[in-house]
């Protein structure tokens, strides 16, 4: 063993580890540090930006450039829209994925594998394709609105008076139902995006549920619904919360779905970052400050999820 340090193979291994460590530290940490550093930079009119140490970008994010004379919460509002869309979509996805996954975990191993292939394939499908699919389905000249019109459903809605309600919700124009642009379409597409993730994340917890517990409850005469309510749900409360949090964090950064389906005044931080860093605004420092705020929100949620996980694993 004492010759190990002279062994060329051990030396090689050590060198390889050092290279790997450096590589990972540089590539996983440096990008985030750069975003942080540039968020204190300053935009130069007519040019790009320069290094600086100013909190002006953060001030602009919270209260606007003209503070204290004038206050605007425009950018905080963008963050709140990020939260709003992500929250509703993640809760909806988890609630609808739960019964599905519960049934899935009770199937035979081969059937489970087949379903998982299907789920994984739709999970890996790019956001771009999914948005394209829903865009065709929801756009006014094809898809659902056309279906509504041709089947007479629109006319029926008008006859019973629900059409006005849809108009109040912004889901219809005077002639027909419309889903673009609407909160409904945004949330629907976002839930669709993370739905397979919800299944994958709930699957371990649900497939490890002890069947003897619910069997015991059944022999004692509990009905199916009672078992779900008193045995199953309490034992998966924490994974359920943890999954919702993870999906929420994932959805905070959604870009394509929001640009296509959300109304222009309801654009989120992710869209703002994009247009500042790469788009028409060309204000990388402010985009970086927004990215940092998004990162802080996401990290906080991930930390909460981590605490929940720890609590779940504790006996």
């Amino acid at each position: 063993m004492n010759t190990a340090s002279h062994d060329p193979r051990a030396l090689l291994r050590k060198t390889a580890m050092t290279v790997l460590t450096t590589f990972i530290i540089v590539l996983c940490v440096a990008p985030f540090l750069l975003v942080l550093a540039i968020s204190f930079g300053r935009k130069v009119e007519g040019a790009a930006w320069v290094w600086d140490f100013t909190f002006a970008n953060y001030q602009r994010f919270f209260v606007g450039t003209l503070w204290p004379d004038e206050v605007t919460f425009l950018y905080l509002q963008q963050l709140s829209y990020s939260f709003y869309f992500a929250l509703i979509a993640s809760i909806f996805a988890v609630l609808t994925a739960l019964p599905f996954t519960l049934t899935l975990s009770k199937l035979s191993r081969n059937a489970q594998a087949a379903w998982l292939v299907f789920i994984m394939s739709s999970l890996s499908l790019s956001e771009v394709f999914i948005v394209m699919g829903w865009d065709i389905l929801l756009s006014n000249n094809s898809g659902l609105p056309k279906l509504f019109r041709e089947t007479g459903l629109t006319q029926w809605l008008k006859d019973v008076g629900w059409f006005q309600t849809l108009r109040d919700w912004g889901l219809a124009n005077p002639r027909n139902v419309k889903f673009k642009t609407s909160d409904f379409a945004t949330v629907l597409t976002m839930s669709y995006l993370v739905w397979p993730y919800a299944v994958i994340l709930l699957y371990p917890a649900l497939s490890r549920l002890d069947p003897s517990l619910s069997e015991a409850a059944r022999t004692m005469g509990a009905g199916r619904w009672t078992i779900t309510r008193t045995v199953t749900l309490p034992s998966i409360r924490l994974p359920l919360l943890g999954t919702t949090l993870l999906l929420f964090v994932f959805l905070l950064g959604t870009y394509v779905a929001v640009t296509v389906f959300a109304a222009p005044h309801k654009q989120t931080v992710a869209v703002a970052i994009y247009s500042n860093v790469r788009g028409s605004n060309l204000n990388a420092p402010f985009g970086s400050a927004q990215a940092i705020m998004l990162l802080i929100s996401a990290s906080f949620c991930l930390y909460l999820g981590h605490l929940l996980n720890k609590k779940a694993e504790a006996p």
Binding site: L20, L27, V35, F118, S124, G133
Partner: protein, 265 residues
């Protein structure tokens, strides 16, 4: 009630398949714009995508290069980390695994913006190799997880038996550890491959419009409206995913990789 939950399951599958089905059907359109149901169904778009339109063939080639490069690099980086985690559980290995998973855990747009700056300073912006490295780092978390699961399935008594029979560490590594983890490494490779194929936001920031993968090309054309050729891309990508995951399910243990209880059949 049992029937009720099965119906719900198939209904969910139907909704899940609906937009995918619509995109696929749109590929059969003969005209320049998308209609559903397709008008005058034809397979001409497939020829455009794979053979005759250089925009798409180049994008497809770029996607393939980036995905295979990133998958290989990610597995190469993940292997030592997962092995160290398993064999020594040292602090360094935990830090590396944590850092390696970080880009995957935070919103990708933040990491994408950061990498955009990073490559701008190091001269990699718009270079294909930078795109490969970026995807490898972003998705490294997946092979770390799959390889760790594989290593955990090794029976430590086999290693002890090998040692008592006089096998050196290297021999035991080659004859016990490596064969057991190969299916899991391959699964990790394929996970990265498929996700890299479909990834959009990070590659957008690091490519700086100097080259385009298929997802980027589709996003660029989004403003001009959809063309049926894009739908062919969607079909191709979906087929690749299904083949890959079916292969993982066939030769690996997909339910176990997804965290099912290994003792129950």
């Amino acid at each position: 009630m049992r029937i009720g939950s099965m119906i719900y399951m198939w209904l969910s599958a139907l909704v899940l398949a609906m937009p995918i089905f619509v995109v696929c059907a749109a590929a059969l359109n003969s005209g320049r714009s998308m209609f559903f149901p397709p008008r005058e169904p034809t397979l001409a778009r497939f020829k455009e995508f794979f053979i005759s339109e250089p925009i798409w063939t180049e994008a497809l080639m770029n996607s393939i290069i980036v995905a295979f490069g990133a998958a290989s690099l990610a597995v190469l980086m993940a292997w030592p980390i997962a092995y160290m985690l398993w064999s020594s559980g040292s602090k360094l290995s935990k830090i590396l695994a944590g850092l390696g998973s970080m880009p995957f855990a935070v919103p990708p747009i933040v990491f994408g913006v950061g990498l955009g700056f990073f490559w701008a300073f190091t001269g990699g912006l718009g270079e294909m190799w930078a795109g490969i490295i970026s995807h490898a780092v972003l998705l490294m978390a997946l092979p770390i997880v799959t390889i760790s699961i594989g290593l955990q399935s090794i029976d430590r008594s086999h290693l002890n038996a090998a040692a008592t029979m006089g096998a050196t560490d290297q021999v035991a590594f080659r004859t016990v550890v490596l064969p057991q983890t190969i299916p899991y490494s391959i699964s990790g490779f394929f996970f990265v491959l498929v996700l890299s194929f479909n990834e959009f936001i990070v590659i957008f920031f690091v490519s700086a419009s100097s080259y385009a993968t298929v997802t980027l090309q589709i996003f660029n054309s989004l403003r001009n409206g959809y063309t049926p050729t894009m739908a062919v891309a969607a079909i191709t990508f979906l087929s690749v995913s299904i083949i890959v995951f079916a292969a993982v399910a066939r030769w690996g243990d997909l339910p176990r990789l997804m965290g099912a209880d290994p003792t129950r059949k």
